[in-house]
Symmetry: C2
Subunit: 198 residues, 2 copies
């Protein structure tokens, strides 16, 4: 007997969550139905509200409920320093480390030609407009230290050079091959303080 | 910067899922928003539909969209053999193993006085009515082989004896301390075939 009907659909739908296979989806479905129906309803409402209200900041491509996110709109940040990251989670990690008071640009990915992810998918045109506008005095490249992250950093470094903008790369305090999101705040701070011209 | 607003709410709501801590909740939220908004909407609808439509079978206490579940309603099952299990997932596991053609009674838990789970919470009154009605010729105790599962089995065994119903316990092919849900079908079949009077 396989789970059918609404139960089968729920188990299937839970598999859209990263890291959730058939067995955990089944456990989650039974847990919610047997132990936490209120939590299931609240989760459904949160999913719908998030999908409806959360879009992208038109300036930095980070997730935002407003056209301009709170960081881009803030007068307390140094808008002359622009940190380029792969993922919105990287913004949170760097901001929590407290080592950077500038603003961000979120690629929402990295150059990966084999996956069909090129400059257009990463909003490079928007980044180029930003550099052309002249306010940015330093681009801090904080893409991951993976092969694809490095290639992405080089692409942006060359673009910044064309506009005469100083470009730095965060120091290799970040372990090679590491994903920024998993690095602790102290290491991130070291990496920021040790950044060098790129 | 902590995630606030709808994003923060979504991350919080995802933690109602078993095994999901703050870090995975954050990853899930970003994954859905950045990569799979359709999946997020589908998951929300599935959660609401499941909570609305899935209740409990009034005969076996398993999850069911109808007053009587498909197993209890089936004329192809031997209604004289009643297998008592802790969780609805156990029903699926045993049925998939193909080793039992009777029907089930689902406790949705196990006796655990310290957690306030006594006979009433496990539907023992409903089980007793079932035994009193006389149709059941054999009770197969398939609670987990944990201390609490054994205590629960003994409680039911004594109840069945009062009604003169033969009671068997699945064989210790199931490893001691093991959770039924994780046992493969072949082991479950052995355990069923080796069941003995209790
Ligand atoms: Zn922004
Ligand atoms: Zn039933």
């Amino acid at each position: 007997m396989q789970a059918k009907g609404h139960l089968g659909q729920l188990i299937h739908a839970l598999r859209c969550l990263p890291g959730v296979g058939p067995k955990s989806a089944q456990r989650m479905a039974f847990h919610l139905l047997l132990r936490n129906r209120e939590g299931a309803k609240a989760l459904a409402q949160s999913l719908l509200a998030a999908v409806e209200h959360i879009g992208y900041c038109e300036q930095c491509r980070g997730l935002s409920e407003e056209p301009l996110c709170s960081l881009c709109a803030s007068a307390n940040r140094d808008h002359g320093q622009l940190c380029v990251v792969e993922m919105p989670t990287d913004v949170y990690a760097i901001d929590q480390a407290g080592c950077f008071r500038g603003v961000f640009f979120v690629l929402n990915g990295r150059l990966s030609p084999l996956d069909g992810i090129g400059p257009a998918e990463l909003g490079m045109d928007l980044l180029e407009q930003r550099l052309a506008a002249g306010e940015v005095k330093e681009v801090v490249l904080a893409t991951n230290t993976t092969v694809e992250g490095e290639a992405t950093a080089h692409y942006i470094g060359e673009m910044a050079q064309r506009y005469g903008v100083r470009t730095t790369r965060i120091a290799y305090g970040v372990p090679l091959g590491g994903e920024l999101e998993y690095i602790d705040g102290a290491t991130l701070s070291l990496a920021f303080n040790g950044r060098r011209d790129f």
